[in-house]
């Protein structure tokens, strides 16, 4: 019975978690409840910029980073937040399996100082699993504000593991943490966890199991404490027991079965094999007993070492009286949305003008330069009028709204507002038979739909997760809502209105579209629940984190940089090639019409049916690589057919559209189409990856497209009816 043969069974599990390292390196896992600041600790240890946010479930995939300390290299793994190691959701399973079957040299459990009682539960679970545990009590700055006093030395002695107090966001305690990790990894400090003792008869059972499996576990699963393995043999789920016994030699299995069958806990099912020998009822009783004992122990610890001033705890509740109030909750949310858009639109306008002024000045200089070199016209066309101009449009029209919206959104996220939105909206999602956390994944979709789709991992039930994935696209991502903003300006122009009321109108327009997107999300979710993804909503537990004051300067800085890099990268990857292609298509003529003209002409009749034109549909099709490029492509196509216009502001952009026969219906439907149409290539790829299914990927493109066509068809019919009536 070879070792490799045994480990093969679970290789799928272990391979992912096995991190290649050499002798001088140590693997350190960061575990902890959701939203305790693991990613922030990770960032301050490694200097990386893993995304953080004040809501549970921000991190859903393992992140890795390196740092060195006193000549040793450490590989740090940022695990998703978990409440427990008895996994209930996919990302909790990831964390548990990494700690169990990965090759971590030490586990740092990051705990929230303001909620230590609940956090210690996981600490005790990890202590049962492995000795090399370090407790990092984070957010002590918040605890101090709330007048919570923590006796770290007392806790250290009581638990038997090193304790470090941190305020990771300000780098406080990070140096000590590095030292401690070093010492534990090097074996200079040997933690001796004092674990929870359970009821006597149960301990007896565990004792006999340990004596049987102990040596094998020690040899084959270096990181796992035999006692922990024994505990899980009595209460683990079937899949996990299979994985566990898969690691152990076969002859042990019958011995294990024997002990379990003999035990007073499992009298009723002596004859059965190990996998079903334990009745669910028994397991349940054991799990209850374990949780009760653990929490009893925790109550003792917190009573001794944590002093709380209850008066200070009510700030959040006062704020929540308004934010999540029955009367103000939803209106406040809409007002917040409108305010964010108002700031975005106001700021973006002047920034756009500045940027385009500069970029088109550069374009003129480039043209002069090309003339000076006597470069052929086509080269100037491809590079300057095609590539450069498209990139310039993406940067000047698309970047400003993104660079303003995103930091604002991040501030709201850091404040802790998003889970409140989910709380306020939950009843709507429940009616749509969707998961309440879908709301959080939609919020992520504002930044990028691909990120939103990945965020859907926080939803445990596969059915609701699929619903969330399929509908995420109805939230206008950062690449699309600049389109909405730009075209809402055109829409207003087409109505012939002008004056200061315009900006307000644009704000209302864009907010209205977002709300409409949410309505469509709910409707489609409901439809899916009634048809393809039948079922009732699964369990829902949502933690509302405490409000935390964001570091505004830092947020502004990092998220503006983040967005700018994001947009510039996409501009190079997607917009530059698109610009070249469009220019070429626009300048190769068959007959007296360019290729673009032919393609647009071909699509025109169908497009007219839904109130658009061929060029618009073409732009959306070519824009699948990146939604930011849709408007630039559209402009290029219009311009390639007609005269060249200087383009300096949103206003002149509007004139180009109006010159090409746009009515308010065209503008409205272009916005609606942009809001609802198929996801971009990156999102589709992510959906393929997340669902692992071609069927759902195709549907995720088809459903939004169908919704877009249906809605645009309806508005077109209404428009025609109005025109007939008037």
């Amino acid at each position: 019975m070879g070792l490799t043969d045994q480990s093969m069974k679970s290789s799928a599990l272990t391979d992912i978690f096995h991190i290649d390292k050499n002798d001088n390196e140590f693997v350190i896992a960061l575990a902890g409840n959701p939203n305790t600041g693991k990613s922030t600790v990770f960032n301050s240890l490694t200097g990386l910029r893993q995304h953080t946010g004040n809501w549970p479930g921000k991190t859903v995939v393992n992140a890795r980073g390196n740092y060195s300390h006193q000549g040793k290299d450490f590989i740090l793994v940022d695990l998703p937040g978990t409440y427990s190691l008895f996994s209930s959701s996919a990302e909790e399973e990831v964390a548990r399996d990494f700690i169990c079957f990965g090759n971590a040299d030490a586990v740092v459990v990051v705990a929230d100082a303001t909620c230590l009682e609940r956090n210690l539960n996981l600490v005790y679970q990890v202590m049962e699993l492995t000795d090399n545990v370090i407790l990092c009590i984070n957010l002590i700055d918040e605890a101090r504000k709330k007048k919570i006093e923590i006796d770290a030395v007392g806790i250290e002695e009581d638990l038997g593991i090193p304790v470090v107090l941190c305020a990771a966001r300000n780098g406080i305690g990070i140096a000590e943490l590095k030292d401690m990790v070093y010492k534990v990894a090097m074996g200079e400090i040997k933690p001796t966890p004092r674990i929870v003792e359970y009821d006597a008869d149960y301990e007896e059972l565990i004792g006999s199991l340990v004596s049987v499996i102990g040596p094998a576990v020690k040899e084959l699963l270096r990181n796992v404490n035999p006692r922990w393995a024994a505990l899980r043999l009595t209460d683990g789920d079937e899949k996990f027991i299979n994985t566990l016994t898969g690691h152990l030699p076969g002859y042990l299995q019958s011995a294990i079965e024997g002990i379990l069958a003999e035990s007073c806990f499992f009298k009723e099912c002596k004859a059965c094999g190990i996998y079903n020998s334990v009745y669910d009822k028994d397991k349940q009783a054991i799990r209850d007993m374990i949780a009760e004992n653990t929490y009893r122990r925790i109550e003792e610890v917190t009573a001794k070492y944590v002093k709380t001033d209850t008066k200070k705890q009510y700030r959040d509740r006062m704020i929540d009286n308004y934010i999540t109030s029955k009367i103000f909750g939803l209106p406040l949310m809409l007002a917040m949305l409108a305010l964010v858009f108002w700031i975005t639109i106001s700021g973006a306008n002047s920034l756009s003008e500045l940027l385009s002024g500069f970029l088109f000045w550069v374009e003129d200089k480039l043209t002069v330069f090309f003339k000076h070199l006597d470069a052929p016209d086509w080269l100037h066309g491809v590079l300057v009028l095609g590539m450069y101009r498209t990139v310039a449009w993406v940067v000047s029209v698309m970047l400003p709204p993104m660079a303003i919206f995103f930091p604002l959104f991040t501030i709201l996220e850091d404040l802790g507002y998003l889970p409140r939105v989910a709380f306020n909206m939950d009843h709507l999602f429940k009616k749509a038979r969707a998961h309440g956390k879908q709301c959080l994944t939609m919020c992520m979709g504002f930044g990028c739909n691909a990120a939103g789709v990945t965020a859907c991992r926080i939803i445990e039930s596969p059915r609701e997760r699929l619903i969330a994935i399929l509908t995420n696209n109805f939230v206008p991502c950062n690449g699309r809502f600049p389109t909405l903003i730009a075209i809402s300006a055109v829409f207003i122009m087409s109505l012939g209105s002008s004056g200061i009321g315009n900006r307000l109108l644009a704000v209302l327009m864009v907010s209205g579209l977002v709300v409409f997107g949410i309505a469509v999300t709910l409707a489609v979710s409901w439809l899916l629940s009634k048809t393809l993804l039948k079922g009732i909503p699964s369990a829902f537990t949502l933690e509302l984190p405490p409000y935390r004051v964001p570091q505004i300067g830092r947020v502004l800085y990092t998220s503006v940089i983040d967005r700018t890099i994001f947009v510039l990268r996409r501009a190079v990857i997607a917009a530059a090639p698109a610009g070249i292609i469009i220019w070429i298509l626009g300048n190769i003529h068959i007959g007296d019409l360019s290729l673009i003209g032919h393609a647009a002409g071909f699509m025109d009749p169908a497009a007219r049916l839904i109130g658009l034109d061929g060029y618009i549909i073409l732009a959306f099709i070519l824009g699948i690589a990146a939604n930011e490029t849709v408007i630039p492509i559209l402009l290029m196509s219009y311009l390639s057919a007609g005269a060249m216009t200087e383009l300096s502001s949103i206003e002149s952009l509007g004139h180009i559209f109006l010159d090409n026969g746009w009515t308010w219906l065209t503008a409205l439907n272009t916005m609606l189409f942009s809001l609802l149409h198929w996801p971009c290539a990156a999102t589709l790829l992510t959906i393929k990856k997340e669902t692992g299914s071609m069927k759902w990927t195709v549907l995720s493109a088809f459903i939004p497209t169908a919704a877009a066509v249906l809605v645009c068809l309806t508005t077109t019919l209404i428009y025609k009816a109005i025109n007939i009536l008037l």
Partner: protein, 74 residues
């Protein structure tokens, strides 16, 4: 026996028994809803659902479907 969703806003109740099973039960235990745990009812959502509870110092929202599976002493 009364259930957690019967408790009125502002009251503090004691958990008696969980009637949930499987993953949900596991999650509830992890959150600290063990026998004898004190739970404060903080507020109800815009349409009376979900309800926000203070469980072991954390604010946790549960839908009626879940809170009706927790037997409490009021």
């Amino acid at each position: 026996m009364p259930k957690l969703n019967d408790a009125s806003v502002g009251s503090v109740v004691t958990v008696q028994k969980l009637e949930s099973t499987g993953i949900l039960r596991e999650r509830m235990l992890a959150l600290g809803l063990t026998k004898g745990a004190k739970v404060e009812v903080i507020r109800k959502g815009p349409s009376g659902d979900p309800t926000l509870f203070c469980i072991r110092g954390a604010m946790i929202a549960l839908r009626n479907e879940e809170s009706s599976l927790i037997a409490v002493q009021i």
